[in-house]
């Protein structure tokens, strides 16, 4: 028996043991990977902090938690004459609630007989992947809230109404938290063709936050959009950088002086969307109430297992993020253009879409077992 088969059998035996269910160490096994899995990019925008229930507030009406976050109070200075006195301010600082919710894997089930049919350590693979799966859901939720932040200030800047930001009406729309790339601005139609990011696009993106007595610190970008930087011209890169890129790619930790976070999760952060952020202390909080827990159960010959974690994220200062769109169409809520779904995170149920087409019969050479 291969080690993976041993693992599956041991898994079944262990799960049946009176002492309870213990996790088994991986021991190899050959299988084809379908896709790369990546840690959370939200956790790179705002580092995670562990919190305990004792630090949270509860409601008298239900049994869920919030964390109360205090925000810096307003203050200012003034000029006085020698005989004057300053105006008074009764000190008050705003507070915000950060709610907690659960992110869970699917509940995986299998009977022990069918589990023996796998040579790979299928349960260990799912267990390992489910941690990243939880983080994908966290990223999707976080990104939706970040989008709400930028759209909220766009709405405020456009006289309190959601105003489409698209190429055909670009000049007349106030751009407070969202801008479009130069190529997208010049597009003939309002659609979702993705244009490469240009150096002036980045500069304009940085200016959005830097114009607000804040400072851009980091950028979130997809790998494909990032790769377009390597197509920047000699005048953008300089001779030394251009020749380096040809050989080694872009190997620095910053671009235009700002840190960047690259992600392959192009089903969550869709191509054509680039976000900028301040340092975390100017933006929000990212909490974990309960780290990933794993539960396994066995009833007769059926095994089920799932994992979950309890998290809370709050993007308190909505002015601390901005967005660059590399497409000409509008994704402004209630003022979208046809095809806008291509620029939005996919549905939660669509996360985990597979690359391989084995079930559809696409593998080569293709034969029939006989």
């Amino acid at each position: 028996m291969t080690p993976a088969s041993v693992i599956n059998n041991l898994f079944t035996q262990k799960v049946s043991s009176v002492d309870g269910r213990e996790k088994l160490a991986a021991a190899g096994g050959t299988y084809i990977r379908d896709r790369l899995r990546e840690v959370s990019f939200i956790d790179k925008i705002i580092p995670v902090q562990n919190v305990t229930p004792a630090e949270c507030q509860v409601s008298v009406n239900h049994d869920t938690f919030v964390m109360i976050i205090e925000v810096e109070p307003q203050s200012r200075g003034m000029v006085l004459t020698f005989r004057g006195q300053p105006t008074a301010r009764l000190i008050r600082a705003p507070r915000a609630e950060v709610p907690f919710f659960t992110i869970s894997s699917e509940k995986y089930e299998k009977n022990e007989q069918e589990l023996m049919a796998y040579r790979m350590a299928i349960t260990k693979i799912i267990e390992d992947n489910s941690v990243k799966d939880l983080q994908e859901v966290k990223d999707r939720e976080g990104l939706r809230h970040i989008e709400s932040c930028v759209q909220a200030l766009q709405k405020e800047a456009n006289s309190g109404s959601y105003t489409a930001l698209k190429a055909s009406t670009y000049a007349s729309t106030v751009k407070y938290s969202v801008i479009k790339g130069q190529s997208a601005q010049a597009a003939a139609t309002d659609d979702f063709t993705i244009y490469p990011v240009l150096k002036p696009d980045f500069v304009e993106l940085l200016n959005l936050i830097d114009s607000r007595r804040l400072k851009t610190d980091r950028i979130l970008i997809t790998e494909p959009d990032w790769n377009n930087i390597m197509s920047w011209t000699l005048s953008d890169l300089g001779d030394k950088m251009a020749s380096e890129i040809v050989v080694d790619g872009y190997k620095y930790n910053t671009v235009l002086g700002k840190k960047y976070i690259r992600t392959i999760k192009t089903d969550i952060l869709r191509r054509g969307n680039i976000y900028s952020f301040t340092e975390p202390e100017f933006f929000g909080v990212n909490y974990v109430l309960n780290n990933v827990k794993f539960f396994i159960d066995k009833k007769a010959n059926w095994i089920s297992f799932q994992s979950w974690m309890d998290v809370g994220m709050g993007f308190i200062n909505v002015a601390s993020c901005a967005k660059l769109e590399l497409y000409s169409g509008s994704v402004t809520p209630t003022a979208t253009d046809t095809g806008y779904a291509a620029a939005q995170p996919v549905a939660e149920t669509a996360l985990g879409a597979v690359n391989n087409r084995v079930d559809q019969g696409f593998k080569f050479p293709s034969i029939s077992q006989f």
């Binding site: 409601s59 008298v60 009406n61 239900h62 869920t64 919030v66 709610p99 907690f100 919710f101």
Partner: protein
């Protein structure tokens, strides 16, 4: 001051077939407990064409699509944050509810879902199966039967597999 809730299960909670669905965009504002018509625990919501939970239209005295009772308490922070609700999607259970209209309900009465107003606002709750559709024949769904006579605005009912019933026009 706390509120006691509007829906109390008699059946063990862990035995229920619980599902979490995203709330339709038109209903998300009602997840705020201070909304003029907030979603309540015990309210019966239906799945729309986008597979999201929504309040189905009351057509001639009953809703004509399948619906499921909400298990989350009003104002839960996880609900407000995630814009999702938990519903009891299947299986037998017995529960007490005040999201209902108790008029003419007696022990054994068949119950359907329609507009009710236990508080300010209109929720989707349980009523006695109407005798007719007020001039229009409609198809309703019996979702349960009263197992304990109404008292103080509450009824106890047993949830059954939805039974399609033709309600005559008159």
């Amino acid at each position: 001051m706390s509120s006691a809730g509007n829906f109390r299960l008699v059946e063990p909670y862990m035995e229920l077939h619980r599902r979490v669905f995203e709330v339709a965009s038109g209903l998300q504002a009602s997840l705020d407990p201070y909304d003029t018509n907030p979603v309540s625990d015990g309210e019966w919501l239906s799945l729309d064409s986008s597979y999201n939970l929504a309040r189905a239209a009351d057509s001639h005295g009953t809703i004509t699509v399948q619906s499921f009772p909400v298990l989350d308490l009003k104002g839960q922070y996880d609900v407000q944050a995630s814009k999702r609700l938990t519903v009891a999607m299947g299986g037998f259970f017995e529960a007490d509810t005040r999201i209902c209209t108790t008029t003419s309900i007696v022990l054994g009465s068949p119950l359907v879902v329609a507009d009710v107003s236990p508080d300010a606002g209109t929720n989707k709750g349980l009523i006695l199966l109407p005798a007719n559709g007020g001039g229009t024949a409609v198809v309703g769904w019996i979702v349960g039967y009263c197992t304990k006579a109404p008292a103080d605005g509450w009824i106890r009912f047993a949830r059954v597999d939805p039974q399609r019933v033709a309600i005559p026009a008159s």
